[in-house]
Point group: C2
Chain length 244, copies 2
Amino acid sequence: MKFDDLKKLHQKKYRQQFGHFLVEGEHLVLELQRALTRGTLASGSVTLYVSERYANFASPFEKVLLNDRQMSQLSDTKSPQGIVALVPLPEAPTTIQPAGKAIYLWQVQDPGNLGTILRTLAWFGGFRCLLSPGSVDPYNPKVVRASMGAIFHVPLELDVPLAALPDRFARIGCLDLHGESVVADNFVAQDCFVFGNEAQGVPREALSAMGASAFTIAGQGAIESLNLASAVNICAYEIQRAQG
Amino acid sequence: MKFDDLKKLHQKKYRQQFGHFLVEGEHLVLELQRALTRGTLASGSVTLYVSERYANFASPFEKVLLNDRQMSQLSDTKSPQGIVALVPLPEAPTTIQPAGKAIYLWQVQDPGNLGTILRTLAWFGGFRCLLSPGSVDPYNPKVVRASMGAIFHVPLELDVPLAALPDRFARIGCLDLHGESVVADNFVAQDCFVFGNEAQGVPREALSAMGASAFTIAGQGAIESLNLASAVNICAYEIQRAQG
């Protein structure tokens, strides 16, 4: 890819146009190499762009040396780490109904929240993440960074409309301020778990129409709500705990 | 307080010198008023600084009108909301051993993590939060904002040395990558739960010396670690779940 095009990958529309995203920093590149080893990265078509100090970095990927000015243009941060990988966007999953529980996030906005959620889902394993239209792009550099590499390990589906869920999942649960406790046996029996975004819940009419069951994480009411990522973390924990 | 001193409260040393901190935005001010109602706010010695558009804001607090230039100096954000409260720092708890479980955070650095943790602890209730020396100041505007007002509801103790824990707590648990599962009955039996920071665990020698028990949140190993706030969230959930 031409260098001028590489720089454009900080924007979603160019990531989609070129089918690639950027991954910055040694830690994330090492996670990428682990994903390659585990077979969760689609192909070997990764290119590393490195500063002088990473010229001898051991890697199965092709390396291209950049000068400091070029590196700072490619970097998303004020202090470039000196190593950036160009990674192909994963292809959409080919199976309609893969194994594991689905976490559906409705219009998630905060990159840090999405990154933290992916990190938790990767930690527990057995989850995939579905994003509604209007969600933050998971290949946004801030999400990739907050995920600490988990984005290479969690199956993702983008632009999944809420209305498409009933055709794919027999039992749909929704996290709400009112509902059955997540401790109930019925919770883990759901196939897909729907979460509203940072500011508002999922439209109730749509949920009613699809016969979704409402669940809640019981609290004592001192504050209005849990952080979105906290709610997903707790549900993911509860699901894997209940599954034994 | 003089206006020139107010502006200094963005820095920790002045917050400590003047014994006050700033709380910005309508949502946080409303939470502050709820804390007053619930009796968890020490006194009525809160002053509100408002722009013209909040001149008629209904509040039990004394109001001082600021012009836009003054407000932007007082604000921590690029787009000032037009309402900032001056709040006295809470006094240190007077009882040595109050009720509830203690969450001890060792050198927590990220303001967003601490804010999210406080939000979860406030959600569940029955927790207090102890911070080691070298932790981020919880009255830092970023922490206050991320806590969404939870900081007014969770008892806090600052600068608590790790070595002071054994004198105060009979059973100390520590979250680690290796240890007994948090699902075990023994977990909720602990009085104090120790968490390392974002980058490293608590020094093992110190933990061994105090006879702390190690606990772990079981994962599948695709990634190195959980986010700190996620780990605390899950433990707080598990504790309240196990307590029924």
